[in-house]
């Protein structure tokens, strides 16, 4: 049978937890220029199910952590400057909170998606690994004069996700339980000064913990010593976020998709839209605000194949079983272990985006029916 190929052409980077992954039996693969564990001994299915039942620990240190520090010493100045690069209300993020944001380009497309936290005197951003260098350059070019852009290169990032995450972290961090979804800030974890947010990429309650790189293994081992915690690889991270209906940059969102087309309107606060006090003022605002006002031609939707066959990224979508013209494309797809069924997301014409609309995907030459479905496919359990 066909063998999966993975031969890196240039040396891969390693996170501070590389040795730990190998010692835990991690199957290491290339991802965004890093050698990362795609799974451990249990496998993707079991790791996915464990995360939704108990607590999974993910190494996401490959992602970029960046401090944006106002030269004036006033965080509102940094926030106002960052609003020149994103369509979100950053000035309005209260201290100790974070928001989901996107860097946009002149065509209204998305350069990356990220989290922006207000740490009181500066902002802390978490960006995708694949876009890290470009994002830092974008920030430096865009915010020069107003802010110092400081990549936090000597920090690791761990995600602890699942219904038991809170009770586990409580044993190491007295303040964890009191945090609400999207709270973010410095906290003492296992005697270490960490940056903690109550957020994640799985749809479950959970936390992301930024820890100094030289203490990452210590913290990871402490968390793994808890009977409820298992290490989880990138394979399950992907199936978890897909069931949660969350976008993967470079797949569900990219420079050719606007936040409106991507069904991310909820992340663009009113103050930045037409009629708002700080309307526009970000790249592509003309196109994006026009889409808010008049609608976009296409939309990202959840898709549920009617059979058992997964429908994967790249599959063309058609309105009927025998129409000749494609009407859209699948941008993420796979098998959802919690649903025990295939799930997908893709772009369809807005006119065909109503729930339960039946469409057809070309899979190996056959037209397989699927239905437009609401996301998340599995309910979120955020502690709001």
């Amino acid at each position: 049978m066909a063998e999966p190929v993975a031969t890196p052409a240039s040396p891969l980077k390693r996170t501070p937890l590389y040795a730990l992954h190998v010692s835990l039996g991690g199957k290491m693969v290339p991802f965004a220029g890093y050698e990362m564990p795609v799974q451990y001994a249990p496998g993707v299915l079991k790791e996915h199910l464990h995360t939704r039942a108990a607590a999974g620990l993910f190494d996401v240190s490959h992602m970029g952590q960046v401090a944006v520090v106002p030269k004036s010493g006033t965080v509102a100045d940094a926030a106002a400057a960052l609003e020149r690069l994103v369509p979100q209300d950053i000035i309005g993020i209260p201290p100790g909170r974070q928001r989901y944001a996107q860097f946009t380009n002149a065509e209204g497309g998305i350069l990356d998606d990220l989290m922006v936290a207000n740490f009181g005197e500066h902002l802390v951003l978490v960006v995708n690994a694949a876009c890290k260098d470009a994002d830092i350059q974008l920030l430096r070019d865009g915010l020069s004069g107003v802010c110092d852009v400081q990549p936090l290169a000597d920090r690791a990032l761990l995600a602890l996700q699942g219904p038991k995450a809170a009770s586990v972290l409580a044993k190491f961090c007295a303040d964890a339980e009191a945090m609400r979804f999207m709270d973010a800030g410095p906290r003492n974890v296992d005697g270490l000064t960490c940056y903690v947010s109550r957020s994640g990429y799985t749809g479950e309650d959970g936390y992301e913990v930024s820890v100094p790189a030289d203490k990452a293994e210590q913290l990871a081992e402490a968390l793994l010593s808890d009977k409820d915690v298992l290490p989880i690889g990138l394979g399950a991270r992907d199936s978890l976020r897909l069931e949660a209906g969350l976008c993967l940059y470079g797949h569900d969102i990219d420079t050719a998709t606007t936040p409106v087309e991507a069904a991310l309107e909820w992340s663009v606060q009113k103050v930045r839209r037409s009629g708002g006090a700080r309307a526009g003022g970000f790249p592509g605002a003309g196109k994006i605000l026009a889409q808010f006002d008049s609608g976009a031609a296409r939309r990202r939707v959840g898709l549920k194949p009617e059979g058992r066959a997964p429908v994967r990224e790249g599959a063309t979508l058609f309105a009927t079983a025998d129409s000749a013209e494609p009407i859209g494309k699948v941008t993420s797809g796979g098998f959802g272990p919690t649903l025990n069924a295939p799930v997908a997301m893709g772009y369809v014409p807005t006119a065909l985006s109503a729930l339960d609309t039946v469409l057809f995907a070309d899979v190996r030459g056959q037209r397989l029916p699927l239905r437009v479905a609401a996301t998340p496919f599995v309910p979120n359990t955020y502690k709001r």
């Binding site: 066909a2 063998e3 066959a309």
Partner: protein, 121 residues
Amino acid sequence: MTTLYTSDHEWLSIEGDVATIGITDFAQAQLGDVVFVELPQVGRALKKTEAAAVVESVKAASDVYAPITGEVVEVNQAIVDEPALVNTDAGGKAWFFKLKIADKSELGGLMDEAAYKAHTA
């Protein structure tokens, strides 16, 4: 009954004119958790190396090729109903399909167990 292997991790169990075909335990371990299997139709004529079946893990789909030329005489509904069987019993209960052998000389190019073990060492 003879068991032979291909270099891309399929096994054939030959009994008279009929070859029962599956993927090896090595292959299932590489694939990870199997979530979907698509088998050829009974009656289909397959040429050696032609894509015959599909086996999908959570992350990706893989083709299973016809190791020899022949006609599909039976397929294993058990692995369609329960794809996880491919992980738990790849070499036995999780066979994929049976072929009526068209050309016995094609078997000469396949590996025996010792050669396959060396291949995956």
